[in-house]
């Protein structure tokens, strides 16, 4: 496996940054109105997102990042 | 298939009702029993009339001018009362119950001003030292009263409990303080009527509610009329005399506790009540002494005023 060290450092830095962000001020329940809007969900339209992801995985050499598992196809 | 099951009961000196949608009555009854038990639990803890209640224990300490450590729930209620006191510029005051001793609404007699002045010496939330969890009464002979908070808090808790137990549609009605659990199963709102302050068994407005709560207050609950003038039970803690200005106020809010406090504060503000409701961001409506109704901008025409042939009153929307 020839993964370079600096790539790992980059990944570790991103994750560390995100863990530090964990110390945010909590927001009260009545302030969650904007976050609760359907288009503020991480995936507002999962069916279409899945189709697009399938197209990308078939035509590109990268996969992963978005979710776990999902099954394959003999995409040519 | 959801069906509506109603459970009337009496608590906190008022007629109460739980309306729950459930497939079977047995399931609804099980949950209603849990909710009613919580309401009665709060009544037992904060009723003025029960010598073994938490409130009575506090008031015994207060009578002697001592210090008491309160539990978490009571502490949060005192915090809430403190916030109401600040937001109402001192008009909302849980120590003002003492003034009741001067006002006997069955006697049809006005009290002696000197009696009121003596009582005022022992009234005032700012005379009390509240540093959670210690409640200290430097001035002996004071008295606390959770009227205006207790019933509304119970309504919110009962609704939350029903939701947790799986009821998604229904409402909790504790003596006119209503908290919605969820709209009717077809999505349609509950049509809540607001009692007319002068005409018994009539409503002055109707409001559709999908969620949230509504509380109302008025000068019709306990009062006496002397010399053509109405004296109601809502007493200004600074003067000791009943407030004047509005006949009735109803406020819609997410929580019944907030709606109820806003109602009480608006009534206590008298003629300045409507302006206070507007500026504080509440959705509410009121009727003033001339019978004219108004609502805050925030209410957004949700209310349907009900007008009938008036006799001396004109009901028109602002």
């Amino acid at each position: 496996m020839n993964i370079r060290n600096d790539v790992w450092q980059r990944i570790a830095a991103i994750l560390l940054l995100l863990l530090l962000i964990g110390g945010c001020t909590p927001i009260a329940p009545w302030q969650r109105g904007n976050l609760a809007k359907p288009y503020m969900a991480l995936e507002p339209d999962p069916a279409t997102a899945a189709v697009r992801r399938h197209v990308h995985v078939s035509k590109e050499a990268s996969s992963g990042g978005y979710g776990s598992g999902g099954g394959g196809c003999g995409c040519n | 298939m959801l069906r509506l099951h109603a459970f009337p009961f009496t608590a906190m000196g008022s007629p109460c009702m739980l309306q729950l949608y459930a497939p079977k009555r047995l399931e609804a009854k099980r949950i209603a029993v849990l909710a009613m038990a919580d309401v009665r639990r709060l009544e037992a803890r904060y009723s003025r009339y029960r010598p073994d209640s938490v409130l009575s224990t506090i008031n015994r300490i207060a009578a002697d001018g001592g210090t008491i450590t309160v539990d978490v729930e009571t502490a949060q209620l005192l915090n809430y009362a403190d916030v109401c006191h600040q937001e109402s510029d001192g008009l909302f005051d849980i120590s003002s119950g003492l003034l009741r001793q001067a006002w006997d609404f069955r006697s049809n007699r006005l009290p002696e001003p000197s009696r009121i002045d003596r009582l005022l010496n022992r009234v005032g939330w700012n005379k009390i030292d509240w540093s959670e969890p210690l409640l200290t009464f430097p001035v002996p002979g004071m008295e606390l009263d959770f009227g205006g908070i207790g019933k509304e808090y119970a309504a919110d808790r009962a609704a939350a409990l029903c939701l947790e137990q799986g009821i998604a549609h229904g409402l909790v009605d504790l003596g006119g303080d209503i908290k919605i659990i969820g709209p009717h199963p077809d999505g349609s709102p509950w049509q809540v009527g607001i009692r007319h302050p002068r005409r018994a068994d009539t409503i002055m407005a109707r409001i559709p509610l999908h969620h949230g709560s509504i509380a109302s207050s008025g000068d019709y609950e306990r009062f006496m009329i002397i010399g053509g003038h109405r004296y109601s039970h809502l007493l200004d803690p600074k003067t000791g005399w009943p407030v004047h200005g509005l006949c009735a106020v109803a406020v819609v809010a997410e929580h019944c506790l907030v709606a109820g406090s806003a109602c009480t504060i608006a009534m206590l503000k008298g003629e300045r009540g409507p302006a206070w409701l507007e500026a504080s961001g509440f959705q509410g409506l009121w009727m003033d002494q001339t019978g004219r109704m108004g609502e805050t901008c925030q209410t957004n025409n949700r209310l349907t005023p009900v007008s009938k042939e008036p006799s001396g009153f004109s009901t028109s929307q602002r």
């Binding site: 009545w30 991480l42 339209d45 050499a61 776990s68 598992g69 999902g70 | -």
Partner: protein, 423 residues
Amino acid sequence: MAATKKNSCLHTLTAAALALPGMSPNKATAGVPAEAIATGFLYSHYDECCNRMVVDVFEAFGIAPLGESAELSASWVTDRIAGASPVLNIPFGRTDAVAGASGGAAKVSVTESARSLPLSIAARPVQVMSSATIRDTRNALDLSGQYYFDDVTIGLAGGASDEKDYRSYFSNLNLRWETDKKMTTLALGAGFTHDTITPTTRDIKKSQTAVDSLLGITQILDKNSLLQANMTYQYSSGFLSNPYKKVFISGGGDQQPGLKSAGDPDIFWENRPNERHQWAVLARYLRYFSDWDAALHLDYRFHIDDWGIRSHTVEMQWHQPLGNDWMLVPRLRYYSQSEAKFYSPYFGAPRGNGFYSSDYRLSGFGALSGGLTFTKTFFDRLKLHTGVEYSVHKAGLKLDGATQPGFADFSFFLITAGIDYRF
């Protein structure tokens, strides 16, 4: 003064009220099962340029709550695939070698980008497309269930996909845990996939297996924004080559173990390693803009594997309500990948470790796509949506410049239309 007082009393009282015990029901906000049965249908049309592939996808799905704490969902997909696909690259000077290739007459298409690298004409790679038109139908069934505890949600999913030459089974387990006053959600996932390949033009039967894992964190930053970061790892083993793709190895007379002749002297079936480790890191930022009542979704994904492929994906979406229950979502995506270590358009000489592929998917290229989706909602129950996306794959769009001429460049349209109904 009135402006600052406005809304503050209501909020002050509400804040104080919420501090009281039992005021809100004890239900994790992010982990609540669907309240009602919902179903949907989605049609997608994938259309590659240049008479290549066309795919029509029909999907039906549904989700239903099960009791108070669980939900079940299912989806059925049917793909109809038709068209041609690149099979081999050969040097332009050797196109005659294709005429007698096994499988009948092959189509030779010469596709070059305007900025081809300077190569002698004879050496320029040329794509050879599959003979005849591929026609295949794929059917897939996915099932999943989720169970919601107070702060934790557990999900189990599985499915199977079947087509003439390919069968795939997968299953995965995932866990979501809400912590820290519901500001942070941790996600853990593990999955397993097993595929069986029986190509129509060869007498082989192969299989591959993959296991993947996910670690993720979603953090609410403030009342208008949140950030998600995921890290995934996948290990695949088995037959990872594409059984239809061939490679041209000039002077490939020395047969290497694992390399099988595809009929002609210099043409062999491709041979990829039988193991692959892939890592991906995704960062996703969502922000709500109250002035527009709109949301921005910004994604960046970095992917790296031990085949030498590194890729960057940047995607941006803007979700804009238009009033009257209309919604418009424009999106933009840029993708860039480096070529696999054992990739070459064709091979001038045999390679040491015996791995070869000329599959355009493993080449270095960049892709730019833009799309637009419209949605209209009726009575809060029925949603109709349609969208179009156009994507361009070009060697020249790769970050740090092209590593091959644009002979393999292509583009496609993706059109979607769907209905969602919530009971």
